[in-house]
């Protein structure tokens, strides 16, 4: 009688034990429980798009280890890192990552890949986002129209980016409390759920392109309204979505597998893995979902030069054998990034390199040529023949040295690239001097998103020289036609910085354009030089 009594309390459970028989771990894993395990905390997009499932088996085979992927929002992933609960992070929130590194939780942080963000919204586009010229402009029109906006609201990388755009637009709808407008809907969920929500609620949303591309087919009421058809066509460079790998510091968090973490980071940044990342999605989605971005991937130790029907590939060793030039006391300033510091550069002048292949290039008859310096990441810097072999006026030289040509074109002819923000023709056109000066100096109006050219970056005299050249490009006899002496006007392929060879991270072979005391133009990872007629 008592024996039957035991049945109720125990046998139900006992049967479940039968199902649960064996070790806690699934058999397949238990067999290799002695295996090393690397714990990777990452953002949901790398898992949801299928990228990690595609690339990780290769690493697991190489290291003889298992990678446990914990896919959470970037905020949570960083928190896991801070508590030492992950060995490596693969995340996409540069600001949070910088703070994380500053607090000393990581030993290494490297760029891995990037894609970009797009703004999606209802097909009808009530706020007119499709007409916006920049992301902040788009956000402003959403706020003006009080159109529904779905926010991740989960401190993920995408949410952080969204907040930064609102901030730059001078609006803070995410502010807690009664001030929060009713059109701002903070969902507090992942990208997929937020997009599904926006689809149902006819709301706008900021989405990473990879997730959007992979889910697009299931979101019939949503359309991409801002961001262009591909990352290359995205008109707003601020919408770049940068992913980095961080190896957690073992000294700070004992128990973290830093050695394995470093092995993982090296593998992730290596050329074959990067090529795999770059190719991912081409077959299934018809286009790449991520752009490979490691320094190792972009660095090249040879430059192919093509001129006058000849071509030759120079290795770094061969370049170093040519007559070297040194450029020192040059302030390194980027159009987008601002000041980067003062360095001494050693390298070969672009003129010498071209002459070594094609001695005829210096002849006046070739003066209509354009010289293009192409980097392995696709960035192209262009020069006129006069800039390298002839003479340029101070205004014209400064126009390019300060990077105006990046948007307005090599000869200030204006550019209107497909899907990008157009820049008007400047040469020979008439613009009000006061407004133009104010716009350039403050980085506002049409110059929104461009770092302000304050007086320390561009003196009044230099600005006057540029404006003078733009107004009277062919007029001789003025101060503007003062020709900058060759020693102060250098375009070189540098391979040493401050006396030390440059690493892949520094750009390995870097184009530096010196002009007066400034080197405003520079390109990393130069891989090709082409001369066009």
């Amino acid at each position: 009688m008592m024996r039957t009594g035991t049945v109720v309390a125990c046998s139900a459970a006992a049967v479940l034990v039968a199902v649960a028989a064996g070790p806690i771990e699934p058999g397949r894993v238990a067999a290799s429980s002695q295996q090393k395990v690397l714990r990777l905390a990452t953002t949901t997009s790398t898992v949801d798009t299928g990228l990690l499932a595609d690339i990780l088996p290769d690493f697991q085979a190489r290291c003889g280890c298992r990678v446990d992927v914990v896919a959470v929002g970037t905020g949570q992933a960083i928190e896991l890192g801070k508590r030492g609960d992950a060995d490596v992070l693969l995340v996409h929130s540069p600001e949070q990552e910088a703070a994380f590194m500053k607090e000393g939780h990581g030993i290494r942080r490297d760029d891995v890949m990037y894609n970009d963000f797009v703004i999606v919204g209802p097909t009808g586009d009530p706020a007119g986002v499709a007409k916006a010229s920049s992301a902040r402009d788009a956000f402003r029109s959403i706020a003006r129209a009080a159109a529904a906006f779905a926010s991740r609201g989960d401190r993920s990388g995408t949410h952080t980016k969204e907040r930064a755009i609102w901030k730059s637009a001078g609006i803070d709808p995410a502010e807690e409390g009664p001030q929060r407008p009713s059109w701002y809907l903070s969902v507090g969920q992942g990208m997929g759920e937020t997009l599904a929500f926006a689809n149902e609620k006819q709301a706008y949303a900021l989405a990473d392109r990879a997730t959007w591309t992979s889910m697009q087919g299931r979101l019939p009421s949503l359309r991409r309204l801002f961001g262009g058809g591909s990352g290359d066509e995205n008109p707003d460079r601020d919408l770049r979505n940068q992913y980095s790998v961080i190896v957690i510091d073992q000294a700070r968090h004992p128990g973290v597998k830093a050695a394995l973490g470093l092995q993982f980071a090296d593998w992730l940044l290596s050329k074959p893995t990067q090529a795999r990342i770059a190719a991912f999605g081409r077959d299934s989605a018809g286009r790449s979902l991520f752009y490979a971005d490691s320094d190792e991937y972009k660095a090249t130790d040879r430059v192919r030069v093509e001129s006058g029907g000849r071509s030759r590939t120079f290795t770094l060793g061969e370049i170093a054998k040519l007559r070297s030039t040194t450029l020192s006391g040059v302030e390194y300033i980027g159009v987008k990034k601002g000041r980067l510091g003062r360095h001494a550069w050693t390298g070969v002048s672009l003129t010498d390199l071209l002459l070594a292949l094609d001695p005829g290039i210096a002849s006046k008859s070739r003066s209509t040529s354009t010289i293009e310096v192409v980097s392995s990441d696709g960035w192209t810097a262009s020069f006129t023949w006069h800039e390298l072999f002839g003479s340029v006026s101070r205004g014209e030289g400064l126009y390019r040295a300060k990077g105006c040509n990046e948007c307005h074109g090599l000869k200030a002819e204006g550019t209107r690239p497909e899907g990008k923000r157009p820049a008007p023709k400047l040469l020979g056109e008439t613009y009000p001097v006061g407004d133009t000066t104010a716009m350039i100096r403050s980085g506002t109006a049409q110059h929104e998103g461009i770092t302000a050219y304050t007086a320390d970056r561009l003196s009044d005299a230099d600005l006057a020289a540029i404006l003078g050249w733009l107004a009277r490009p062919n007029q001789a006899g003025t101060d503007d036609v003062f020709v900058v002496p060759p020693p102060r006007r250098i375009a070189m392929l540098a391979y040493e910085r401050d006396g030390r060879p440059m690493t892949g991270r520094d750009g390995l072979i870097q184009l530096v354009v010196g002009f007066d005391e400034f080197a405003s133009r520079y390109s990393h990872w130069v891989s090709e030089i082409r001369v066009r007629y």
Binding site: G5, V8, A13, I24, V47, H253
Partner: protein, 222 residues
């Protein structure tokens, strides 16, 4: 949707997920039952000062949000937590621990009310017939078997369908700590609603089977 269901069922990874779901839930249920039934019975049968407080705690425990339990277990097992040296975080062991904590109050509280529902006369009668204290407790438990089954069934239902805690402490690692509920969350997040629905159906069928089995046992024991 039928396509998705077939796709889900034909996937060998699903089998892994189903086995893990049962292993974690089963083990948590066994431990919670092994501790919860004696504790619940003891509280139900004994008279002691503070009994009302213990009852209150058990009842409140029944309403513990799983994600809060998950958070506690996470903080406990984190490398910088008290039990960090066990290295249990993001392993099935952590999931079993969290689910045990969720299931325990359910088992204990329902056991307690089941034994309290048994006619006190029965116990006195058995004692009068010369049964030991242990023997009389067994009789009461046997008498309360339907309530006990309900306790186990409720606990089973509570933890097999639970997602917050296992997601937090298990990490939803493919082939390692991914169970049915976290797999459903993942496919929902990926916008694969068809697959999510199919996995939900699988979960429902499994729960149905397990409960039918438990009821069968109860019937046989009668």
């Amino acid at each position: 949707m039928i396509d998705d269901s077939l796709r889900a069922l034909g996937d060998p990874a699903l089998l892994n997920i189903v086995f893990l779901t049962f292993r974690v839930t089963g083990l948590a249920l066994v431990i919670a039952t092994a501790i919860g039934v004696p504790v619940g019975a003891a509280v139900g049968l004994a008279r002691f000062p503070g009994k009302r407080l213990v009852t209150l705690i058990l009842y409140t425990g029944m309403g513990l949000p799983p994600v809060v339990v998950g958070l506690w277990v996470y903080m406990l097992l984190s490398r910088s937590g008290a039990l960090g040296s066990l290295a249990w975080l993001f392993t099935p062991a952590a999931m079993v621990l969290a689910q045990t904590i969720i299931a325990f109050p359910l088992v204990a509280a329902l056991t307690m009310s089941a034994v309290e529902g048994v006619d006190p006369e029965l116990r006195l009668q058995v004692r009068a017939l010369g049964a030991t204290r242990r023997q009389s407790s067994w009789i009461v438990l046997r008498e309360a078997r339907i309530g006990l089954t309900a306790a186990i069934v409720a606990a089973f239902g509570g933890i097999i369908s639970e997602v917050g805690a296992v997601m937090l402490v298990g990490g939803n690692i493919e082939g390692h700590t991914r169970v049915l509920t976290t797999a459903i969350v993942l496919s929902t997040r990926q916008g694969d609603f068809g697959l999510a629905m199919a996995l939900g159906t699988v979960l429902l069928l499994l729960a149905l089977g397990a409960n039918a089995f438990l009821l069968q046992l109860q019937g046989r024991a009668r």
